[in-house]
């Protein structure tokens, strides 16, 4: 986030030139497998001097920088982690059936520890409907996720 801002400042791009991710612009970064955001290479100086751009102090917690207040988003009335910002990690976790990003999504949906393996297995089995093509949006992924949960006996209660 901050380095995209910085890179954009250095390279005289406006941050508006980035596609808007579901969490708002400048939420998450890097070259994404799925459409959403793109990365910029020029951040070397920022790395060396550990710089940040000015506007994100406590931005996340106070909701001033385009990211939601506590790193979560509301999808269809349900609060959960900003899937758009972790799409790369999430899609890989779904493909291999487990991982930190998939766990984070499950926990943020309030899925209990006993039901989490069910959730992970269900997502893994329905990889193709979650990620039908490379240009799928985070909103569509989350919508499919809720569909899959609704049609599963154990998971339906979390999608209500």
């Amino acid at each position: 986030m901050k380095k995209i801002l910085l890179a954009s400042a250095v390279m005289a791009f406006s941050s508006a030139s980035f596609a808007v991710a579901p969490g708002g612009p400048n939420c998450g970064w890097g070259n994404m497998l799925f459409a959403g955001q793109s990365g910029l290479p020029s951040h070397l100086v920022a790395s060396i001097t550990n710089g940040t751009s000015g506007n994100n102090t406590f931005g996340m917690t106070l909701g001033t920088n385009g990211c939601s207040a506590d790193g979560t988003l509301t999808y269809g009335g349900k609060k959960m982690i900003n899937v758009g910002a972790i799409m790369d990690e999430f899609s890989e976790d779904v493909a291999r059936g487990d991982g930190e990003a998939l766990t984070a999504v499950a926990v943020s949906l309030g899925i209990s520890a006993e039901d989490r393996p069910v959730f992970k297995a269900a997502m893994h089995q329905h990889f193709d409907s979650l990620f039908p093509q490379g240009d799928v949006s985070a909103d569509a992924v989350v919508a499919s996720m809720f569909q899959i949960m609704k049609s599963d006996q154990r998971l339906a209660k979390y999608a209500a």
């Binding site: 799925f34 990365g39 931005g59 490379g134």
Partner: protein
Amino acid sequence: MGRLLAGMMGFVFSVSSLALDANPHSVDLSELALSGSWRALLHIPRGENERSYIDDPRFFLAKDGARNRSAELGATLAAFTQTPETTACRFPARYQWLKKQGLLPDKLLANCDDYQQWRKQIDIDRIVLVLAASYLNSPSSMYGHTFLRLDPAGARSESAFLSYALNFAASIPPGENGMLYAYRGILGGYPGLFSMQPYYEKIQEYSRLENRDMWEYPLDLNSAQIDTLLAHTWELRGINFDYYYFDENCSFRLLELLEVVLPDVDLTSRFVRAAMPVDTVRAVIDAGLVREPEYRASKRVELEMLLAGFNDAQRRIIKTLAKQSNSLDSPEFLQYSGAERQAMAMAAYRYLRYSDNREQRSSAGAARSLALLREVQRYGAIEWPRAESPAQPDRGHPTSLFAINVGSRNDRQYSTAEWRISYHDALDSAAGYPAGATLSMGRLEVRWQGDREAGDEQTQLQRFDPVAIRSLAPRNDFFSPLSWQIDAGLERLDDSPEQSLVSRISGGAGASVAVLGGIAYALPGLRLEYNGDAKQHLRLAPQMVLGQLWQGAELATELNFSYSDFGGDGERRHVSLSSNWAFSRENALRAVIDYRHQPWGESTGVELQWRHYF
């Protein structure tokens, strides 16, 4: 002015005369003002008449609060008298401390909506000190970066993707010019701020984009200490510190923050001049605040681990898979078992994501990535191998060096005292340091030689190198990094007739490969040298450096050959063989033998070094 007066009054009168009257017995305010806790809360260094590290007047209630702890205490108490709740909401850590001293009543924080909402949302019950190790192939980032990870309580603690990062960094105004940025970032001029963000952004930044390993050291703090730390963090919202790359940097600020929690532990004093992140981590470990760290391998390290499990034929297929999505149907690929295909598709996927990381997103690349992920998924859930943890960076040799060297060149004996401010060369014990890297800052050698009886004793500067960097990153079929070196400084040509002291800058870039259990390298480059004793004082000499390096935690050896052509001032050839034995974490012995063929003659030398790291 009114505030200042009130502050003075608060100080002059005993506390019981304050409207709050929380404390029936009088407390000695001047003693309180000198306490370690108050000092830490104001970020004032230890010692007399020190000024706070905080440069932002908004942090202080007294006009001279940055210098005058008593005045700031008086002004704070006065503010609590006038607007108790507002002041508590603005300074929750000060409030809690003063309440503990019996000076303020309970429950002043109860109506601080913003603060309470923030605390409830993040709901932190564990704090982790994170060290982002150096960049691949970039020794200049070897110093690393530190920040805190804040872990929420309950189920949210089960994935670091739900944690937060608390980071101190320079704040760069939008539109700043890149060069000015580097200059001011290093020499000062930018304000520094604490900021919070989701921890996954840090994972994406370090582990994925920059390919830096992360070390996560859980801190041994109880819930009261965590409460203090967060309350104080709230006080620092939007507050400017000066940012300096070498001393008042991210790592130093974190120590200041920890001192607020542990005012009696001196973490900062030894880092007033320079705070290297790994050294600050050691200080926190030495203070007994840290439990065993977790290692978070970078994407690059994970990729290398995946690739190491395949034979040459499979590696070729993996490369093709990453380039052409239709190769998933090729007979070469289909001849393998399902499990093998899954593993190869995973490696190809990771390789593709790695290679595309810094490119603009392309639909074709995304489609290929997705096809590979589908291939991975087809064969069912896959167990993820964990990258083996290398030696912890805090367990590496200390970063400063003092060495005593004795040697002989063409039968003339000498001894040398050597001092290096930081950091590491490729022959020093490699444990905890990035492979193939040398980063030497501020290296000074003073040599004594001669014959006392004959009366020709000499003590003279042998070498002063402000900077020397070398990065050897081996190339292979998947990665083709550049290997490079640069160094600059003063050097005495100790075998030349005039004992010339030359100033030089030299640099080169080439390649290295892994062979014979080590790294072979070739670094062609240039050397610009000023030599007042030469026919032509200033020369730009083409040079070639070849070598073979074997690194290790205990034993390391390097064979080096260099050739440089000074035109009318002749050619120089130099072969050396060096071996280093690190017999403890703080000590090593090194032997160097060399042969030089130079315009003024041949010489052979042998040197034995005792190297002490501190």
